[in-house]
């Protein structure tokens, strides 16, 4: 009997072994395959090779056409400047908030205020901001006519200003929550409280002490997220369409315009522009690295000087950091509130702060047209998130069962889809699908979303999954449960909350995707995000409000579920409720 059992056991193990050991490789393939194939698909037409459009030789003509575009120097400068500025400002705000407040009760409040903003889709946040700062927006309305004397919206170019300031502002409001969350994760490993106490005991002011003892450790941990923020800010499209300058726009926006131009000959030029965008991001990262080294050098000298910092300056910096962080949060929240008001607004004239009346007419009129894009959005997001969760769990479980050690290089690979500019490989993705004669459909869009959903789901789940007490596993195994039973009956239920949170993050990422949906779907897969951005130029605030709100709801609902479901399921399980 026992002999029989011992021959069955290895067979069962072998069957299970079919998928799990391959999971990491499969995951990398799903995530990086489209990026690499897309890059090649971009490079070929950039060098004049695109048989479908009659390009069969290799030439530099596409680049010549690109360089002949008079707006190029300005577009390039804009992309670089906006990217560097948005990243630097976001990082400084986050670092100063942590330096000034980490470990205090105020910090907990900032954290609770900023974290939910992470789920707000970029486009929805940008629309909200646009309404706040526009000449006819809430801020000007609040000051008019008593403060400004304006009876009509002033003729000022605040939105889409040529220097890209409103674009930088919009990016900062979204990147601050992201970097803050990443910094929090890094802080939990750096034991900041002890270092800070030690520095303060040696007479250092709080902010100075934190910057000198904690920041160098933390920055090493958040370097990749910072690079991702830089690459994203340099090449973002949807936010730049809504908040960025128009003539010329940033390089990425111009590339997308060429790609969507009815004149197919412009595809070559677009591909060349996409390659330039990639080079620009590489150059931007190089520039950032140089700045890192310079700051590190100066910092080392500053630390060696033994300067303790001044209490008053310290207090000033703390208040400034708080004010900046609050501004970012309030801007997004007020902007969203503005969307709510607009979507229910009846007659609303300048400079009234609120509409004359509220009505359901906007929703009644545009609501039915929401159904299609809403369903599309939810199907794509649910599929992409489900696949991402499956692959992530398989990777983590393979890591656990076969004792694999996650390499540092693997983390780089995870960040690669977030660092390579979307436009650089999605352009190629689209070109490939055209030459392959494959119409861009829902499946292709879902796979493109998966490229971006996967890294976020993995990053969100890996830490809590790995932090699970391994002895819980040994106990369950010693009680006679095999690895599968431990996974389904013990580990997954215990980690229900982080699993749902990771799924919610993935869902929100998918809902917010603009470019992959537009380019890979060839404009034929309308989601809430693509529809909303398409409405941007129309300027009808009521429709925009309706769409932005629907988009917001689609992204936020899973987070609400991720909080409520574990509370409901574990309402009688104190051991799982706290924390």
């Amino acid at each position: 009997m026992r002999a029989a059992a011992s021959t069955i056991a290895p067979a069962r193990r072998a069957r299970r072994a079919r998928f799990l050991p391959w999971a990491p490789l499969l995951t990398l393939g799903v995530m990086l395959g489209p990026v690499l194939a897309g890059l090649l698909g971009t490079l070929a037409p950039a060098l004049g090779y695109m048989p479908a459009l009659g390009g069969i030789g290799v030439s530099v003509a596409p680049f010549e056409q690109l360089f002949a575009w008079p707006g190029l120097p300005r577009a390039v400068a804009l992309s670089l400047g906006v990217g560097l500025a948005a990243t630097a400002v976001s990082l400084v705000i986050v670092v100063l908030i942590c330096a000034g407040w980490a470990g205090t009760r105020t910090f907990g409040m900032i954290e609770r205020l900023l974290s939910p903003l992470l789920s707000v889709p970029h486009a929805a946040a940008a629309f909200g901001l646009a309404f706040l700062i526009a000449p006819s927006g809430w801020i000007v309305r609040g000051l008019s006519p008593w403060g400004t004397g304006w009876e009509q919206p002033p003729d000022l170019l605040i939105l889409q200003d040529p220097a890209g300031l409103s674009l930088i502002f919009g990016l900062v409001t979204k990147e601050v929550p992201f970097l803050l969350l990443m910094t929090l994760a890094a802080l939990s490993q750096a034991r900041p409280a002890q270092s800070l106490r030690m520095a303060q005991a040696l007479g250092y002011a709080r902010v100075t002490g934190w910057l000198k003892t904690v920041f160098p450790l933390v920055y090493r941990q958040i370097r990749l997220p910072v690079y991702a923020v830089l690459a994203f800010s340099m090449s973002v499209v949807d936010v730049a369409i809504i908040l960025g300058p128009n003539t010329p726009p940033t390089l990425a926006v111009q590339v997308v315009r060429w790609m969507n131009d009815p004149d197919l000959a412009l595809r070559f030029q677009a591909a060349a522009g996409a390659v330039l965008q990639l080079g620009l991001v590489v150059a931007g990262l190089g520039l950032w690295r140089l700045m890192e080294m310079t700051v590190a050098g100066l910092g080392r000298r500053w630390i060696a000087s033994g300067a303790r910092g001044h209490r008053d300056v310290d207090q000033g910096i703390r208040r400034l950091a708080l004010a900046l962080g609050a501004t970012a949060a309030v801007a997004v929240i007020a902007g969203l509130a503005g969307q709510v008001v607009w979507s229910f607004a009846g007659m609303w004239q300048f400079p009234d702060l609120l509409p004359d009346g509220f009505t359901l007419r906007n929703w009644a009129r545009h609501g039915p047209r929401l159904a299609g894009p809403m369903a599309e959005t939810l199907i794509i997001a649910a599929t992409a998130t489900g696949l991402a969760l499956l692959l992530t769990l398989a990777c983590l479980e393979a890591e656990h069962r076969y004792g694999l050690r996650p390499a540092t290089r693997a983390l780089w690979l995870l960040y690669l889809p977030l660092i390579v500019p979307q436009v650089a490989f999605l352009a190629g993705f689209q070109t490939l699908s055209i030459s392959a004669g494959v119409a861009g459909g829902r499946l292709a869009v879902t796979l493109a979303h998966l490229v971006f959903v996967l890294p976020y789901v993995f990053l969100a789940l890996a830490d809590p999954w790995r932090a699970w007490d391994r002895r819980q596993d040994i106990i369950a195994r010693a009680l006679g449960a095999g690895p599968d039973r431990v996974l389904w009956a013990v580990r997954l239920p215990m980690l229900l909350r982080p699993v749902l949170t990771a799924a919610a993050v993935g869902f929100a990422v998918s809902v917010g995707q603009y470019l992959p949906t537009l380019l890979v779907g060839a404009g034929r897969v309308p989601t809430l995000t693509t529809e909303a951005v398409a409405l941007a130029s129309g300027g009808d605030r009521r429709v925009i409000g309706v769409y932005a709100l629907a988009q917001m709801a689609a992204a936020f609902a899973p987070f609400a579920l991720a909080v409520l479901l574990p509370r409901l399921m574990w309402r009688n399980r104190k051991g799982l409720l706290n924390g």
Binding site: G403, I474, G480, A481, G482, P483, V490, N572, L576
Partner: protein, 216 residues
Amino acid sequence: MADGAAQMTGLRFEQVVLSLGEVRLMALDCTIGPGEVLTVMGPSGSGKSTLLAAITGTLEPAFAMTGRIRLDGRDLAGLPTEARQIGLLFQDEYLFPHLSVAANLAFGLKPGLKGRAARRARIEAALAEVGLAGFADRDPATLSGGQRARVALQRMLLSEPRALLLDEAFSKLDTGLRAQVRELVFETARHRALPVLQVTHDHSDAEAAGGETVCL
């Protein structure tokens, strides 16, 4: 402690040597007979937990083991943890926080006992055995330390182990409770004729066990 090579019952270590790279951590060559207790004492880092990992089959790849471990004559090498029939108690009880007390016990109870009512009755009986009748539907997080320890013991026993490993199992309990729980565990092991290996750094644990003590 009998040392006959022919003896087939009990937990038997045959020239077991554990090492980390070139460093030899410990060597063990003995048999723990049914109902007997072997206490292993030593400072942290002396290889106690490595020994336990070798027995449960959860040795980290960095460690190497030579020799054989046999339980009732069966070589444990190559068997997954769940097939080794070794009961484990840690200093934390590791009751599954998402399951009720009864569901925790049901997790341990062999699937061979069929029928919802029969299983439930077996679980109620196990709880009554340790003075926890009526605790079946409780949330484990609401139990006291002593109650948790008893639930963990019964859960482990319901899985019908053939040997018992105690990893600092009593070190979190305060003195009075500690003696009580310890007596319950050793008494049960004797009664069921289970070989026991306990790892501890507390001499009172060794004295209470009464068996042989190995110091690392």
